[in-house]
Symmetry: C2
Subunit: 383 residues, 2 copies
């Protein structure tokens, strides 16, 4: 046994005591205080009858926020990117033709992941800030008969809300599976999995659901399940152990549950409480609140002579991209917002870096007082 | 927009209010109350200067508990199994000869994962409850010149503590990389990454570190880093996006950090506070506490005429496997422990199912009063 030592005096490290930020970036948003309290409840085991009850109720709540009857609906034990990877790893078999609609950073990420899982990936693109016409997807599917099509409904990098229903119809006519990223819409804007004909839909907990990141919703339609079960031969084994739905479903869907991995107990407590808050408020009221508050923000930004990047009819209400005026120093303004007002907003990502700010009004962060404060601060800093 | 509806009345779901369990199974163990309080602090963004400071301090603390100088030391945004997969995904290239020492359930899991990542996997086995002789590993390496060797130091399924130093020497003579699973040892028993010559070591937060599951420590030696950087051609791309260390290190190791995925902020708060508690107690005092309490448990179990599965010299102090007497109903006793005493212990896993109970004394759960209560309860239930 060696003598335990460290080159740093670790006993001087202070306890956790974060500044009270007003989180108006692209996520994480502020967690509802009720969620934080739920999270600090004592742990139970991942096979405890109490925890199993919470899992089952979480599944019911998730079906409600997704607006789906899909039995295979649960949470992934990781953040939103892990849920994205769960969708891809389980749906994309090596050599599967895959079509990814790329109109932002997260569309690119999906395409990159699909390649890692051996997909024969093609992309179609529109400029960052625009939407796909269903006809464009139809044309692409004629050339590349994709078994899997993926699109980001609510692009956190651009602030655009893509039309899903018409694209889903096109994908299904061509017998494909449609994967939809709802990380920045679920709980804040309509996702409507069944009505829109979405086959695999995933999200995160840290945006419009008002929880910390760590347990991420996902749902698979019967058609997606069928694709999963029809994987054969060497392709039958999912090339990812932690995110393998054929293993995860033995924990989530079978009683008594079989051990797969230790669930992140407190993250699941948090998700349950966050979903309960959605059910109490009511999905439609919640969508209306996000809409109402976004309109206030948009009006206020216009009053400051700032230009929004996305035309109103395609805008997310949960995340707004606003063009940074040429004369303004991106970083300096954001740093002053943080240091002088404790407000976090975010810069652009990818090709919009330096060109836009991203302002999120998601979940618990979508509140009138936050908008008033941000607008007052921007007015002062930009004058 | 469809009308939001649910077939279940979700508004009747109660808030989180778990029973106060005494968690003496193989994990999760009880979280230290200080950790739960740290976790309920308000969120900051994953690129916030405050969070970056917490990340850096966490890395220093992790180097201390791992007893390593490895720069590439951080946490994976998932539970222990995700950290296992991070080790395998980054070290095992397709067609790499891999040797896995299997002496329990988690050794099997490693072998299964290594196959998913395309490794040319061989296993050597000893009965569940025994240790590997270094000579056995040396012989196997003569036949199968493995680039990667993996072993579980502390098998949660058997209660055995494997010797690492001698095996590491054998692996390095054969120029391989040694991966060690320390999920049930880190913070409770010596792991000593540098002194033992471990190349990749990972753990979970929910056992001897006294945190909830959700952020899992991992460290890579310079030799492991070299293997990672020497991946070439199609093998250069890690077949897992979320766990790709070449992406993660741009967030953890580069300043300013580059966005990879949204860190599970509160799980990182928890890990930081759990590690601070380890530093305050001191690693060696902590090892001694786990040892002292395990001896009390062992003595008490012997007084109840129960037989321990593992000889004392190879026993974990963090997890004890005790044989279930033939006349005793495994499930009935565990259910009564839970319902009458609020105590969770666990049954056997894999080939020890129905044969042993697994009693964990890990982190905050390793306390004298828990042992006294468990022994009193067992005495009553077994009489």
């Amino acid at each position: 046994m060696m003598t335990a030592q460290s080159p740093v005096d670790l006993t001087t490290y202070p306890p956790i005591d974060p500044p009270e930020r007003i989180l108006l970036g692209p996520g994480p948003s502020m967690a509802d205080p009720r969620v934080l309290r739920a999270m600090s409840a004592p742990l139970v085991g991942h096979l405890d009858p109490y925890f199993i009850e919470i899992m089952e109720r979480t599944q019911h709540l998730l079906r409600y926020v997704f607006q789906t009857r899909n039995p295979l609906t649960f949470s992934i034990s990781g953040t939103g990117t892990a849920a994205m990877e769960a969708a891809i790893a389980n749906m994309v078999e090596p050599r599967d033709p895959v079509l990814v609609c790329v109109a932002g950073y997260f569309g690119q990420r999906i395409a990159e992941m699909a390649e890692r899982y051996g997909g024969d990936v093609r992309t179609i693109t529109v400029p960052w800030g625009e939407v796909f016409a269903p006809q464009m997807v139809a044309s692409a599917l004629k050339e590349h008969h994709a078994r899997v099509v993926a699109i980001v409904q609510a692009e956190t990098s651009t602030g655009v809300y893509q039309p899903i229903k018409e694209i889903a119809d096109v994908v299904h006519m061509s017998t494909g599976i449609l994967i939809v990223d709802a990380v920045t819409s679920l709980g804040g804007m309509p996702v409507d999995v069944d009505a829109n004909g979405i086959d695999v839909c995933y999200s995160g907990s840290q945006k419009c659901l008002g929880c910390p990141p760590g347990a991420s919703p996902i749902t698979f339609s019967p058609r997606a399940e069928q694709k999963l079960r029809s994987r054969q031969g060497r392709q039958a084994v999912i090339r990812n152990w932690y995110l393998d739905v054929t293993g995860l479903e033995k924990y989530w869907m079978v009683r008594p549950p079989q051990y797969h991995h230790t669930a992140p107990i407190t993250a699941n407590y948090a998700l349950y409480e966050g979903l309960r808050l959605v059910a109490e408020e009511g999905l439609e009221n919640r969508w209306a609140r996000h809409h109402r508050n976004a309109e206030k923000l948009w009006k206020g930004l216009a009053d400051l002579d700032l230009t929004l990047h996305v035309p109103e009819e395609h805008r997310l209400t949960t995340l707004t991209t606003v063009r940074i005026p040429d004369v303004v120093d991106d970083m300096a303004i954001r740093q002053r917002l943080l240091s002088e007002y404790n407000i976090e907003i975010s810069g652009g990502l990818g090709e919009l870096k330096g060109k836009v700010w991203r302002i999120g009004l998601m979940g618990y962060s979508s509140r009138e007082e936050n908008i008033a404060l941000l607008l007052a601060a921007l007015e002062k800093l930009l004058s």
